[in-house]
Amino acid sequence: MSDPILSVHGLNAGYGDFQALFGIDLALAEGSLLGLVGANGAGKSTLFKAILGLLPRGREAVTFAGQPIGHLRPEAMLRLGLALVPEGRRLFRSLSVEENLQLAAQGGRRGDWTVERVFDLFPALREKRHSPSQSLSGGQQQMVSIGRALVANPRVILFDEVSLGLAPIIVNDVYAALPAILQSGISAIVVEQDIERVRRMADTLVCLNEGRVVLAGPSADFTKAQITHAYFGG
């Protein structure tokens, strides 16, 4: 396997005096998909925040494309090629669909992904391009949120619970876009509650429990029972 595009070494992070993550190690191979699972409060979103610098972390704790990035500010991450699809979508409410995408395009890297190409991937968004982002359905908002990551032409996307609050059929639509995204050379970490789905999609699996890695390795190596066991911290 080639050198990982993104890796985390002995990462400790938390909120003020509350420590939420303890010595996390993980490595994302270039072009692969890593599934991150764990119960609510296991530290998945906190790990994303720490990787992106939205929480303080050590300089050497996060390495991206061979360089330590733990000392960099969050606003530098998108330009480096590290994008987030946040839990709850968090579109900018006073910006239109197109403006949400333009903002990310401006903050990111130049490349093949453009606002128009996002509309090709999610045709439903094209006719809504001038609509306020909050007027869209949940699934469409999630498409904007994913599109916002794509137009930045990232090398890695962190997907945080993209299925949360969406109808199952919509979730399938949203995940249907994932193969095309990976084929364009983007690597990804996906946080998802649906363990079976993660096991099918992901090359590598990492399970967190109470802020610690309790299981890590190629997805094919684990049975659903093993993952469930680790998930609930048996």
Partner: protein
């Protein structure tokens, strides 16, 4: 006819109040920062213009070529160096710090310029007027109003038509996500304050051309500015203009009843509107 005249003069006075209020409205809109020193910064702008006029012999309005960028630079530096550190979920720290700044500015101006009242001589425009049938309208109030409208129009275009405006709005909506989208929110906040200070500079020069000022003239300007912002509704610049006009008209009509009643009438209308529409006339903000 006296009342029609009062309404017209009040509307034009509202232009000046809108100038006082626009900078206040802008930074509250972008970063929920209540600038207690806003009025004192207007007076600081007036003194800065006074110094520039005395040093260069420029006309007060021409001095804006220097005063606007100088004030914008001061605004950027204060935000980046000081006020950004006070921003957070709590509204109180910026209020306390700007209150401290107000005291510093007032006493600094007192030390430098004494309590003597000053005025910027704008020349013939001060007294020139335009006859509209039975009413005559001063050119200076008319120019003040026109400048307020043009400024608000420009700021609206900036907010809704440019990449910078997009970053302003995104930062207001969700600063953490804005950072994840590559927006340097500390720089955005400082730019918003610089814009606010550019408007403050213009307000300061119009204030100084229309009335006397001294180091302690700021707080009253802050009150009028606040009232215009609240009457208009938080987050809406056109609402701020409307708020200024309502305040101006209330004061002008109050003055018709009795000259002592002018300021009080404005405050009473402010309370009345607050009682009937607590979120102001055109609220845009949740």
């Amino acid at each position: 006819m006296a009342y029609v005249d009062a309404v017209v003069q009040g509307i034009l006075l509202g232009g000046l109040y809108a100038l006082f209020a626009t900078g206040l409205s802008l930074i509250f809109g972008v970063m929920r920062l209540v600038n207690i020193a806003h009025g004192d910064f207007i007076v600081l702008g007036a003194y800065l213009a006074l110094v520039v006029v005395q040093a260069t012999g420029l006309h007060p309005f021409a001095s804006l070529i220097l005063v606007v960028p100088l004030m914008a630079g001061i605004g950027y530096a204060i935000q980046r160096g000081l006020l950004n550190r006070t921003l957070g979920p709590n509204l109180l720290p910026p209020i306390l710090v700007t209150f401290g700044l107000a005291v510093v500015i007032q006493n600094g101006l007192l030390t430098l310029f004494s309590t003597d009242t000053r005025r910027l001589a704008a020349g013939p425009i001060e007294t020139a007027s335009l006859s509209l049938g039975p009413i005559s309208v001063g050119w200076l109030p008319l120019a003040t109003f026109a400048v307020a409208v043009v400024l608000i129009l420009g700021l609206e275009l900036l907010f809704y038509r440019t990449a910078m405006g997009r970053a302003f709005r995104a930062t207001t909506d969700d600063a953490e996500m804005a950072r994840a989208m590559g927006v340097n929110t500390r720089h955005v906040h400082a730019l918003a304050m610089a814009l606010s200070f550019a408007v403050i500079a213009i307000a300061g020069v119009f204030l100084a051309a229309r009335s006397n000022f001294d180091p302690f003239s700021g707080p009253a300007r802050l009150i009028f500015g606040f009232e215009a912002v609240i009457i208009g509704g938080l987050g809406s610049l056109w609402g701020t203009l409307a708020g200024g006009v309502v305040l101006g008209v209330a004061q002008a009509l109050g003055a018709q009843i009795s000259p002592q009643f002018q300021i009080l009438a404005g405050h009473l209308v402010f309370f009345l509107i607050l009682a009937v529409r607590p979120r102001g006339l055109f609220p845009r903000m949740e």
